[in-house]
Structure formats: structure tokens, C-alpha cells
Symmetry: C2
DNA sequence: CTGTTAGCGCTTTCAA
DNA sequence: TTGAAAGCGCTAACAG
């Protein structure tokens, strides 16, 4: 007689029936609650093991009205920024007994919505959102917030009275990076990676402009490269490409820049390749500053001067703020934390 | 009179009570099933909107006995390999109407288990596992598999009659990389990044050894650097560091290698930094080969020769295999797909 | 120490 | 076209 393969999961009642007790008793054994005689306990345990019992989390959570799970929505995970963020969030949550589910949205409104929806569908206890802002996604997010799901956003626009906000001071970071170049005597300074969408890189560009203005250096629009297309069409990886192509364009200028500030380190790396291909030297011919201080920044040649942002801290703060929202009874005031950046000077700027 | 803020989500019954119909009618409206008079439909819709109704996914899925959700467990997401994998999986699943939840385990058995548990708890319809193998995690995974959760593993050991397996031919990739160096005339070839844990990099090392053997080049153990510690202690980012330190050690040898094969591109990048710091030239003094062909490999200087593995294809296949397992009635035979690698020759090897 | 009841929010089935 | 009943699998609360 062939053993029948259990196609379906065993339930509490299955075990109860098998052992000859009430489902409640089995529940008590499985959860280590209440009093159960040693004898019964053992019988139940044995049956559970044999029948490969596994608690149905849906039913469990439906009953509990919570899941101890947080959802994180990332635009893409192909950069160390997202990675560090996710790790820090995971660690913070894990220490507090929460699980983390990550969804990727590839910077598309449609996928943003799909991610929000699937997480909320699973009744996550809260949501951390670190995608780029876009109309469709934001509208949906608003609905979610207003149906009382606790939400915290990181480094992206989203104004709502009950959504906390964590970010770095991209404006000041951009300012410091540019001022550093100005201090070194540069006057023709390029910017690579301008985008129309309001986001961290827009702020960095504004910081660049602010520095030029403060030092009375006229803005030359030809020195600012970027894309006019919607950023949502640009896959994560292409930032090196953006840097490479942007730099090519700057190099073809009749009066090329003597220094360049790239929107992020990947962009800077692409730009460096273009500069080398042109037979020019860094920083002698062109100085280079990036943003983020990814681990690879030490390994470019020359090592990259860049603006370090506290990635882990952002994740940690976001997670903590969210947990406070979840675990407090009272609806809180919106909170906003903007963290400082730090200029890390290496060899790409003299 | 202040509007009372709804602390809790509205349910079907809440709306039903509000409109004056049965919960079932509301359900029909919300799901677009069955017949409902236009009048009732509108009233219900209005009430639902007003009360910010959102279907409880737990209850929904509990009833349906499925979630249309797949879990992906990644060791870390800090490398393009994981990233591409995740993207390809997500795209494949999304096209078939499934959501993807990603969990990170940071290469620890404890976190592996936590990730498996939380996903299975949420009743995902299937699981894709791409972590490094470890005892505790594997035992737990076995339990899951035997309680009938469909599982596919990518690029890691896990033998089980009902778990499919996707990987690249790391052995042959390592062989080709090494043979390429031998063909160029190198006889003292180093290997950076050996680990004790059986995994893709062990296979790459074996490919290296196989090539040496085939060309009758004696193995010099001093040319093979790596870590004796458990790999689980090494955070994802430190592979550049591993490469840097490994190379330092090779450079300090009385008879240093003329070529080096690094376990992956990040390791190679760290090694390149060490070589440059020593004032040596690539490839003239030391030739360098990596593994993976990450997007940055084009941007190292010189551009990195490396072994490209089809990352996206692996993800796609894994997702497809899993869906077949989920959607078929009959338990299938274990399937194994090992994909070919391709040597990409750039400037780091003459 | 163990069992019964009720219900989490939803949907399938059958009845009206 | 609508409703009532039952139950997905689990557990809190109460009873015995």
C-alpha cells in the first residue's frame, strides 16, 4: 500500500482528529500556551511532526490582526544606497521582532502601485517607501495612508500630515561639493545627471547652482548635462552610462570644464572612463566629485572625492519612526529628519 | 461635532450595515462578480469610497488558499548578481500575475531561517532560494519542502528530490578563465578568494585547479589566497577588501604571480587597487581576470577581462520552473539547469 | 488539564 | 437580484 502523499497542509483539526483531542489543545501545544499534560503534549508533538504540521500564518494573523511584518518598497536595488538602506532597516526591525518584505518597483508607477498593493494586501503593519515620486504611485500611496496604514518615506517627496520623512541634506551636499571645487580655483564646473523629476538629484543640482551663485560664477547651461526623458525609462544600471555620455558631451564643448560634479558615484565612474578615453588626466585636466561614497569610491583610480551620506542611519531612523507610529495609540504629528552629508576628499580633486 | 477618525479598517459588514444590504452584496460589488442592481452598486461604491474600504488580504487569501505571491531569499543584495536575478524573477512573475517578496538573510543561518519562516508564514505560493548553503538553513528548508511548499534553488547546493536547481557552470567558467591566462603564456597564476564553504566560488577554484592540471602546471598553494573563517562572517561589501588584501599577500611573495584569477569582479577590483598601489601595471606586470561581468567591469582601468554568467536567464528559468511546479497537479521530477558562461576578454589581460 | 463557542473578514453555495 | 449559512484555520474567553 503506497503511502498517500499529503497534497495539502495538515491543520490543527487534522492533528486533533488524529490524536483524539480538541483543536484547541493542539493549538496550546504548538504555541506553548496554557496547561497541557506532558502525555498529551508528546502525543500531539509526535503527530504534528509526522504530519509535517505548519501553522497557517494567514489564519494566525487574521485572528491576531497584525503580522509583525513591514514592507519596504525600493525603486531599484542595483545601487549600494538601496542596499545599505535595506540592511539597516532589516536589522533595526529584526531586533524589534519584525520581519521585512522588500518589493522592487523599477521606478515605474505601475510597479509602484503593484508593490504597494501586494504589501498592503498581505496586511503588513507598516510601509517604508524609498522610490522616486511619481503621480500614479503617489495617489495610490495617499489612499493607503488614508486607510490608516502607517507609512514613512525616505529621500523622496511626499507631503502628508501623517507620513514621516527621512532624508539627507542633498542641497547642502551639492553645495559643499561644488564649493570644494571652487575653493580649488575651478570656475568652469560641469554637472552631470540633471533630471527633471524632483528628487535627490534635483536638490544636488540646486546645491551646485547655489554655490555658483554665492561665488558669483555665472551659470553656463551647456555645462549641465542630463536627460529630458522621464527618469522612469532609465534602468538603474544606466547611471554609469549616463555619466559616460554626459562627460562625452562636456568634453566636446569648445570650452570644456576643468571640474565636474556628478549626481552620484556611479555617474562619476562613467565620467571617469570617458575622461580617460579622451587621454586626459584626473585631477590635473579635470577634477571629479561624486555623491554617495559607495564602497567602490576608494577603488576608482584616482580614488574618488565624494559626498558621503549616512545611508544606514537613514534606514535605521525610518524603521524606528515607523515602529513608533505602529506601536503608539495616538496619531502623531508628522516628523521630518534631514541628515547631514560629509565631503570626503580623495585624489580625484587634486 | 468632530469627525471620528476611523482607527480601524472598514470591513465588508461595516459597509453592508451602512448601506443596508448584506455583506455578500458588498462583496459582489467590490469584486465585480454576480448580479447587483446598478442602484445598489452605486450606493455601495460610494460608501466604500467614503469609508476608505480596502479588502483584507489575509481573509481573502485564507479563503482562496493561495496568495499569488512568491518569496525570494537572497544572501545579500549588495551585488549586481542578486540584483539582476531579482529583477528577472520579478519581471517573469509579474507577467504571470504573481507578486514577489524579497527577504535578505545576510548570509547567516539564523536570518535564513527567519526569512524562510516569515515567507512561509505568509503562505507564499512558492519559494526561490539563492542564499549560500548552511546547515541550519538547509535543515529548515528541508522541512519546508517536505511540508509541500514548492521550492527552486539558484546557484547553491541543495539536493532534494522535489527541488529544482538552476546554476551556471562555475567550474567551466573557472577553467576557461584560467586557460585563457595559460594561453597567454602565464605559468604563475594566483587565485584570490578561496573559501571553505562549497558554493559557486569553490567551483571556480576547482576550475582553476583543473586547468592547471590539464596543462601540467604544478599547483603552488601560496598562490591561492582566501579566508579560513566562516564566510558567514563576511559582509557582502567586503569582497573588494578581500581582493585588496589577497593581492597584497600575493605581491609580498618572493616569486609573485604574473596573472591572477579573482573569484568575482568585486574581488578583482580590490586586487587592481592593490596592484596599482604597488606601482605595477596591468596587464604588463600582472594580468587580471574576474568573474560575473558586472556593469562596472567596463569601467575599471584597464577594463576587466571576466567570465560573464547569464544572470537574468537564471532568474527567469528559476521563476518559470517554480510556476510550473505550483500550477501543475502532479509532483514532478527534479530538474537541473546548468547554464554556460562566456569569457569576455578586455584589457586587463593584454 | 481539556473542551466548547465564537469570530477574525471574506467568499462559495444554496436558497429566496 | 439579493440574502443566509457555512467555513477557510486559528485562537481568546470561558466553562468544565
Amino acid at each position: 500500500m503506497a503511502k498517500i502523499k499529503p497534497k495539502k497542509q495538515a491543520t490543527l483539526s487534522d492533528i486533533a482528529a488524529n490524536v483524539g483531542v480538541a483543536p484547541m489543545t493542539v493549538s496550546r501545544v504548538m504555541n506553548g500556551n496554557g496547561y497541557v499534560s506532558e502525555e498529551t503534549r508528546e502525543k500531539v508533538m509526535r503527530a504534528a511532526k509526522e504530519m509535517k504540521y505548519r501553522r497557517n500564518g494567514l489564519a494566525h494573523n487574521l485572528k491576531r490582526q497584525r503580522t509583525d511584518t513591514i514592507g519596504l518598497v525600493l525603486g531599484d536595488i542595483s545601487n549600494p544606497y538601496s542596499t545599505e538602506l535595506a540592511n539597516a532597516i532589516r536589522e533595526t526591525l529584526s531586533a524589534r521582532g519584525y520581519n521585512l518584505f522588500i518589493c522592487i518597483s523599477e521606478h515605474s508607477a505601475k510597479e509602484d502601485i503593484a508593490a504597494f498593493e501586494s504589501l498592503v494586501n498581505h496586511s503588513v503593519d507598516g510601509l517604508i517607501v524609498a522610490t522616486r515620486s511619481n503621480k500614479g504611485g503617489d495617489e495610490y500611496l495617499k489612499e493607503i495612508v488614508e486607510s490608516n496604514v502607517p507609512v514613512v518615506v525616505i529621500g523622496r517627496d511626499f507631503q502628508h500630515k501623517s507620513v514621516d520623512f527621512v532624508s539627507t541634506d542633498n542641497l547642502n551636499g551639492g553645495f559643499e561639493a561644488t564649493r570644494h571645487l571652487i575653493d580649488l580655483g575651478h570656475r568652469r564646473i560641469g554637472f552631470i545627471g540633471a533630471t527633471l523629476s524632483g528628487g535627490s538629484s534635483l536638490k544636488r543640482l540646486q546645491g551646485y547652482l547655489k554655490a555658483l551663485e554665492q561665488y558669483k560664477i555665472p551659470v553656463d547651461e551647456r555645462l549641465i548635462t542630463g536627460r529630458k526623458e522621464a527618469i522612469s525609462e532609465v534602468p538603474g544600471y544606466s547611471t554609469e552610462k549616463m555619466g559616460y555620455e554626459g562627460m562625452k558631451r562636456l568634453l566636446s564643448l569648445p570650452n570644456r570644464p576643468t571640474a565636474v560634479f556628478a549626481r552620484n558615484d556611479f555617474t562619476a565612474i562613467g565620467a571617469i572612463t570617458a575622461i580617460k578615453e579622451a587621454g586626459l588626466k584626473i585631477p590635473e585636466d579635470i577634477a571629479m566629485v561624486g555623491f554617495d561614497d559607495i564602497p567602490l569610491a576608494v577603488h576608482t583610480s584616482p580614488a574618488l572625492t565624494t559626498v558621503r551620506q549616512p545611508m544606514r542611519l537613514q534606514g535605521q531612523l525610518a524603521a524606528e519612526m515607523l515602529l513608533q507610529r505602529i506601536e503608539r495609540e495616538e496619531p502623531e504629528q508628522r516628523r521630518e529628519r534631514i541628515l547631514n552629508c560629509e565631503l570626503i576628499i580623495r585624489n580625484s580633486t587634486v
